[in-house]
């Protein structure tokens, strides 16, 4: 029996890692290249992941989740990628990780008949793998500046009439509903609300899937709202209280992206070490060359230091959610942004070197590191771009 030496290696988390690894090897690895070509993952995969008890981790049991905290979600993310999945797979299969938390936190903060109904209609079926949800914040006019989004929702009787457009929406092509950020009030962050918009709502249309550099197994959509009538019952939380809900979730989303980044780095490193041992040039394995060994060490260093810092921030985020008083939420928001930037930089460096050490093979579609190279490029753009993170960090630290 191995003795746990930290919160990431308890017998329970080791078992969770094992289960995820088995799921990925049996359900994902052989199919992923086909899903990449298809431009989406099958709905059935959501059902299978739910049946294996892997979809609802991090969501409380009373809303249909499996329980567990942000460490447990991070273990799932690490294992999904390190066993042969990808950040694109996480984006597609775990879109509910960004589409549902606002609905859950609004319900927990102030349970009403309306919030309970949203849990029953959207949260439970999605965590059971039966429906798919997306989060619609970004607009053609801008994504970084969330406080100035322009999609408008005007109250008319028992409905909001929504006009506007969203773009780059993950799983938007397949989504049964979109948790949409809209402007219900005046300018700035104080006028934003969240509305759940059902597919099939008249006036709400989903354009063709967007073609992308990476994340090919994850469909991405442009959405348009033309006088789409959304029942007021689909308002999440308070009217004009949407910005806070969105911002609260950004910490978790950024930590998830940081975990995806160092896990992608770890996977790419593992594949590269194996390749360097196997591949011979000038009569000897690449791994016998000092130049290559130093590359591997630099990749290793970038990976483990990014992991150590991100995990430390994840531990504090878990402590804060569990009610610890010593964690300053603002400082945590800054540190999550630092973790994202650091892990993304590590990942960018590692995937580039991984392709380089693979030589011509590294440029081929059949080589896994080629996919990680393309997939990881988005990690420094989505969920708050690197520059925007630095701005946030500077503001919080007072620099």
């Amino acid at each position: 029996m191995t003795t746990p030496y930290d919160a990431w290696s308890t017998p329970e988390r080791a078992a969770l890692r094992d289960s995820v690894t088995r799921f990925v090897r049996s359900e994902v690895v052989d199919n992923l290249p086909r899903w990449e070509d298809d431009g989406e993952i099958p709905r059935d995969l959501h059902k299978r992941a739910a049946a294996a008890g892997l979809l609802g981790i991090g969501f409380p049991e009373d809303v249909g989740g499996e329980g567990g905290d942000v460490l447990d979600i991070s273990v799932v993310t690490e294992a999904m990628i390190e066993a042969g999945g990808s950040s694109g797979l996480i984006a597609a299969l775990y879109t509910h990780g960004i589409a549902l938390p606002h609905i859950v936190s609004a319900h927990r903060a102030n349970p009403t008949e309306q919030s309970a109904s949203l849990i029953e209609r959207y949260v439970r079926p999605t965590l059971a793998g039966e429906t798919i949800g997306s989060l619609g914040v970004t607009e053609p006019g801008g994504g970084s500046d969330v406080a100035n989004l322009r999609t408008r929702a005007v109250r008319d009787g028992d409905a909001y009439v929504v006009d506007g457009a969203k773009t780059f929406i993950t799983s938007g092509v397949r989504a049964d509903f979109v948790t949409t950020a809209v402007r219900t009030g005046g300018d700035g962050y104080g006028g934003i609300s969240l509305l759940v918009v059902d597919k099939g709502t008249p006036g709400f249309t989903v354009a063709n899937p967007l073609r992308k550099m990476g994340w090919h197994c994850s469909d991405t959509a442009e959405l348009s709202y033309a006088e789409a009538r959304v029942p007021v019952q689909n308002l999440v939380g308070e009217e004009n209280g949407g910005f806070v809900l969105v911002m609260q979730q950004f910490v978790n989303e950024r930590l998830s992206l940081a975990v995806q980044a160092y896990a992608t780095a770890q996977r790419s490193l593992d594949l590269t070490v194996a390749y360097a041992r196997e591949r011979e040039t000038f009569g000897r394995p690449l791994a016998t060359r000092q130049v290559i060994r130093h590359k591997l060490v630099e990749m290793h260093r970038a990976t483990v230091t990014a992991r150590a810092y991100t995990r430390q921030v994840v531990e504090r985020a878990a402590a804060l959610s569990a009610g610890a008083t010593g964690v300053d939420p603002m400082r945590l928001a800054a540190d999550a942004a630092i973790a994202k930037n650091d892990a993304v930089a590590a990942c960018d460096f590692v995937v580039d070197e991984a392709v380089q050490v693979h030589g011509g093979m590294g440029y081929m579609r059949e080589t896994e590191v080629e996919r990680h190279y393309r997939d990881s490029r988005i990690l420094g753009i989505g969920g708050g771009a690197t520059e925007v993170m630095n701005d946030l960090i500077a503001k919080i630290l007072g620099y």
Binding site: T2, P11, A15, L16, S19, F23, A52, L54, E61, E66
Partner: protein, 259 residues
Amino acid sequence: MNIVVCVKYVPDATADRSFDSSDSTVDREGVDGLLSELDEYAVEQALLAAEDGDGEVTVLTVGPADAADAVRKALQMGADKGVHVEDDDIAGSDAVATSLILAKALGTLEYDLVFFGMSSTDGTMGVVPTMVAERLGLPAVTYGSEITVDGSTVTVRRDGDVATETITATAPAVVSVTDQSGEPRYPSFKGIMAAKKKPVEDLTLSDLGIDASEVGLGAAWTKVLSFAPRPPRSAGEIVTDEGDGGTKLAEFLASKKFV
């Protein structure tokens, strides 16, 4: 329907395994252990058989302290409780002694059926289920590739080289299952967390009324005389095709009795 599944903790079959040179038993120091993969199939079938009723699935193992990992894994998969027989004097026991300990331990439990894997992934003898059945005077239906439990009747399909047999027995009975019986589930997050609270009873030889002289290396009916690592793979034979490659290939296959 109460079911006991007997499981074994074995060295990971994907690791480099070896024997301990001092007593020619399996070296457990250098390699991680786990629940024998073939026993996962037995756990799966036991869970399925118990699913609709109000009975319990108990997982029973005989093994060193680390064997608690195998019990825990089965509890994570969904078994209700565990029994772990651990005693320094058990070390080096052969199949005969192991079957004695299991039979005595089963004597302390309530069961309708006792499930086993078809064999362990380390010893691969596959004799323990029948030995236990013999000791307890129970019918044994072994190597089941399809298991159906209906009331107190258990029916198994047994796929042989020349025929497929269907065998039934009435509980109490011993059942062993093959790796064709259906993919074992892996623990869900809820299962993993729930297992932390499930009871595991630790028993020693004296709890079972077994004298140390009846088990262990000293009592073994068999003895490992010598062991040697598998020789390293030698380089394959390379045949240059000078127009007769096909013939040479056929000759090679024939010489190795592949064709």
